[in-house]
């Protein structure tokens, strides 16, 4: 896999920035968006396979965004990041197709690990890993 592109969607600018910095420091390319609508616009031109989505977004929420991404890209790895989590929310996340669920404040090492593991799996599935 040539470019390891990750998308971070969160309405808090500083949260987007800190996730981006952490992921870029580990060699990932990162695109960010403050809303689901802007994320969908970016996806028209970019092929992203790993996502970190805040659930509570202005306009379309993270659950709806996950459904749309999953519909067009069944093998993508999509992670929920939430400021307020409950067991009901976790179930909902699993139902709409999230692969995992992180509660803020999340240790950045966990996000980086999740991204690494996702790309490893994608490479294995698509035969790009020897």
């Amino acid at each position: 896999m040539k470019e390891k592109l990750v998308m971070v969607v969160d309405d808090e600018e500083q949260v987007r920035e800190v996730f981006k910095t952490a992921l870029e420091s580990e060699g990932f390319k990162v695109v960010t968006a403050p809303t689901a609508e802007e994320a969908l616009d970016i996806l028209k031109t970019k092929n992203v396979n790993v996502f970190f989505l805040d659930l509570n977004l202005p306009g379309m929420n993270g659950l709806e965004l996950c459904k749309l991404i999953r519909r067009d890209n069944p093998i993508a790895f999509i992670f929920a990041v939430t400021g307020y989590g409950s067991i009901f929310e976790l179930v909902e996340c699993r139902e709409v197709g999230f692969d995992d669920y992180f509660k803020k404040p999340v240790d950045l090492r966990l996000l980086v690990e999740a991204a690494k593991e996702s790309f490893n799996k994608l490479e294995r599935w698509t035969g790009t890993k020897k």
Partner: protein
């Protein structure tokens, strides 16, 4: 043999004959076990509201003091339902005042039958149970909405602070002091944000919610905060 249900009744009646009669009727009722304590027209200090399921308050001898006594009894008995009993029929307006003052039901001595009294007691207890359950549910809902708002609001700056603290150490090792200063400024700003949120929480004066996710609401801290003190 099936056990009879037990209800604890506080009977507040200055009219001794009425009080003794009601106590005797209820105590001898076969299907339900009533434990009745008879007191005068005041509630003694040793009465623990948790020890009663219902109170019967005879207001017939109280005349103009009835509403005031009822309010005081309600204050003492707190969540215990109260049935007001009077010797003469009252106007609709007065009955409304009794209800507003804390009575759950209203009975007239003149045509009072044991079956009617028992029905009123059971209904008042059941209505009270439902009401108390709703109050607890509402309290829990409000607490969850507050907890949701606090988690949602505070976890944003916490995420930024914890994230940048994780990134700052390698910067020290690489002697990137400009970068360190920038990160410290961001952290400082986020701490100010947290202090602002905590300050708003201490000034909540109303209850307004916002939609969080599907089917979930959280307290709208901004709109629920008193602006006059800002």
């Amino acid at each position: 043999m099936m056990e009879r249900p037990l209800y604890r009744v506080l009977l507040i009646a200055k009219d001794e004959i009425f009080g003794r009669n009601v106590k005797a009727f209820l105590s001898n009722y076969m299907r339900i076990c009533f434990h009745v304590r008879l007191v005068g027209d005041i509630v003694p200090d040793d009465v623990d509201p948790r020890g009663y399921d219902v109170a019967l308050l005879d207001i017939s001898s109280l005349r103009g003091r009835a509403l005031g006594v009822l309010k005081r009894v309600k204050e003492v008995l707190d969540e215990v339902p109260i049935i007001a009993v009077t010797s003469v029929p009252s106007s609709e307006e007065y009955i409304m005042k009794l209800i507003e003052s804390g009575a759950d039901d209203y009975l007239i001595k003149e045509n009072l039958q044991l079956s009617m009294l028992i029905k009123s007691i059971l209904l008042s207890i059941e209505k009270n149970r439902v009401r108390q359950r709703r109050i607890v549910e509402e309290k829990l809902k409000s607490i969850l909405q507050l907890a949701g708002a606090v988690c949602h609001e505070l976890n944003q700056p916490l995420q930024v602070v914890s994230g940048y603290l994780h990134l700052i150490f390698p910067m020290f090792e690489r002697k990137e002091y400009d970068g360190v200063e920038r990160v410290l400024r961001i952290i400082s700003k986020q701490i100010e944000c947290m202090a602002d949120i905590v300050d708003k929480l201490s000034r909540i004066t109303s209850y307004k919610t916002i939609r969080y996710l599907e089917g979930q609401n959280i307290l709208d801290i901004e709109s629920s905060t008193s602006r006059s003190e800002q």
